[in-house]
């Protein structure tokens, strides 16, 4: 369980941790659909060829096969790109895995626009929404390699169907070590003026944005990392928002149905405060390097900081306490 310090892709953690699980648990099997080098499942295949099934370019078949394997006592880890895992095979995941409450783990690699050059056809930006809407499915998006490693180990310790989203590019680490456990929400930085709530590749950028807000504006931003988007730990979110009164969410995903909406569902019912979003609008991705794509759509620390500045201007207008009734806390 070696932690890394240098920028590393979260998909690398999937491959490494899967090998560790394979060594410890003979019921772990892995399936991939001709992308095992990219998803890193090939590492498992090399170590445990008897427990690895490459099904070729047939994601629907892979998910339903995983259903059969899990119904017969195995713990299947199915990997492919996020676009195919959630989009192409939605019905197979829905009936065979989620409906049956089977212990199948979907390792969805290359999520978001940061996969870069392949462009819109491959850049999955609605998978969190799809999987969040699916009954009984848990949705996990780790922030860096070290947390991703923990997320994979965590997935074996629990029984619910799980969708885990990983990314293609090497990204800076946020956790110095592999965390002891996987929390839904971690407070990575404390602040009293605004809460930046991020997931996946946007977490390190949110931390950078908080630095910039402190230096340039004297604003103290609190930063939350949401790794388990469903079920989300609403308590931690509410505690932070009770203090700051305004939030900016950040995700490499459509703001519809993603982290933004997950946070808004919590605040709208339990603690109504303004929640602004950084994410993909009503548009598809484009080709370019991963970083150029992130820049193109404003999915950067600058993008988060600018949105926070707008939010802070609007905060006194939209989050004033009601004229009647108890004070908001």
């Amino acid at each position: 369980m070696a932690a890394v310090a240098e920028p590393t892709a979260t998909r690398q953690a999937y491959g490494k941790a899967l090998v560790e699980l394979g060594a410890e648990h003979s019921d772990v099997v892995a399936l991939d659909a001709d992308l095992s080098v990219s998803t890193q499942a090939a590492k498992f295949g090399k170590e445990y060829p008897d427990r690895f099934f490459n099904v070729g370019a047939a994601e629907a078949n892979m998910m339903s096969m995983a259903c059969g394997l899990a119904a017969t006592g195995k713990v299947p880890y199915c990997s492919t790109f996020a676009i195919f895992a959630s989009g192409r095979a939605y019905d197979q995941v829905r009936l065979g895995i989620a409906h049956n409450e089977l212990k199948v783990r979907i390792g969805a690699s290359h999520g978001g626009v940061s996969l870069g050059e392949d462009g819109a056809s491959h850049q999955m930006i609605e998978d969190i929404a799809l999987m969040r809407a699916m009954p009984r499915m848990q949705v996990i998006v780790p922030a860096d390699y070290n947390q991703a490693y923990r997320a994979v180990l965590h997935s074996y310790e629990h029984d619910e169907p799980m969708y885990l989203r990983f990314g293609r590019p090497a990204t800076p680490v946020v956790y110095d070590d592999v965390p002891e456990q996987l929390n839904s929400v971690d407070v990575l930085r404390e602040g009293r003026d605004i809460t930046l709530i991020a997931t996946g590749h946007m977490v390190w950028r949110a931390l950078e944005a908080a630095e910039s807000l402190e230096k340039e504006d004297g604003v103290e931003a609190e930063v939350l990392n949401v790794a388990i988007i469903k079920p989300i730990d609403s308590q931690v979110v509410i505690e932070s928002l009770a203090k700051t009164g305004v939030a900016v969410t950040a995700e490499e995903h459509r703001t519809v149905g993603g982290l933004a909406d997950a946070v808004r569902e919590v605040t709208a019912e339990q603690h109504p405060v303004p929640v602004f979003a950084v994410g993909m609008g009503d548009e598809f991705g484009v080709s370019g390097t991963g970083e150029a794509c992130m820049e193109h759509f404003g999915l950067t620390s600058r993008g988060i900081a600018d949105r926070a500045r707008e939010a802070l201007v609007l905060k006194p207008i939209v989050s004033h306490p009601p004229l009647h009734g108890p004070e908001w806390t």
Partner: protein, 253 residues
């Protein structure tokens, strides 16, 4: 299989890929004692265990939930691979497919994969195709002709036979001959929907519509007569088969 222990590890597995035929599976499971016959009256009713399509978590004897066509053969293949990993000697996996199942592309993903994984469990798999030529909107020939199913499965590398699906002797023979094959087996059963019931046979209006009480009464009477005739034929055939086997044993001893 063992109705008193539905989770018995060494059991054969049955996957009803054509999940819309759930009532027939439920009737069979109830007759074997997986649950009381009275439960059949709860079919499709709120709060009952018998859902509109098979549900593995609600109904004992159902191996996996099905109902969305095209998924069953893949699920059955997954089960077969798991049984092989567990080093089980005997259990086989039977998947019953409809002609609608064979219009779904996923069935052919599984049909490609099963021979590929033959020695990793794929050869435990047997696909039984209920080729009744009728689907919701009309005949398969009119709606979407799936053609020569036996040639298709054979072309995908399956050990394939085609039989009259109403000839129980042929059915039993076809099932028996799948044992010990080194690749997955397909049995294409030419059938007529509503066979044995003169008011329903070959008519697509009954695909998703329950019969009236009068029609049901009439149908049951006709089916009971047919069942008696077929049971006699089958007993005669198995008697002949047993006689042949006994002779064989006699020669050896």
């Amino acid at each position: 299989h063992d109705p008193t222990n539905p989770d018995w590890q060494e059991r054969d597995r049955f996957v009803l890929s054509k999940g819309h035929a759930a009532p027939i599976q439920y009737a069979a499971l109830a007759r074997y004692g997986y649950f009381p016959l009275e439960d059949l009256m709860g079919l499709r009713k709120i709060g009952a265990q018998l859902q509109g399509h098979p549900d593995m978590n609600r109904t004992p004897g159902v191996e996996v939930s099905t109902g969305s066509l095209g998924q069953g053969l893949s699920m059955a293949l997954g089960i077969a691979l798991a049984l092989q990993l567990d080093g089980m000697e005997d259990p086989r996996v039977w998947a019953l497919l409809s002609d609608g199942d064979c219009q779904e592309g996923q069935t052919w993903e599984a049909a490609t994969a099963a021979p590929h994984f033959a020695d990793r469990g794929g050869s435990r798999l047997c696909a039984i195709v209920d080729y009744n030529h009728l689907q919701t909107d009309g005949t398969t020939e009119e709606v979407m002709d799936i053609g020569d199913m036996a040639a298709k499965f054979s072309g995908f590398g399956w050990d394939t036979v085609e039989i009259d699906g109403h000839d129980m002797v042929a059915v039993v023979e076809a099932l028996e001959r799948t044992r010990g094959l080194d690749r997955p087996a397909a049995i294409v059963c030419q059938t007529k929907k509503g066979r044995g019931v003169s008011s329903m046979e070959g008519r697509f209006g009954f695909h998703g519509k329950p019969p009236s009480p009068e029609q049901a009464e009439e149908a049951l009477t006709e089916l009971e007569e047919l069942f008696e005739r077929q049971t006699e034929e089958l007993e005669k055939a198995t008697g002949e088969l047993a006689a042949i086997t006994d002779d064989g044993d006699g020669d050896e001893s």
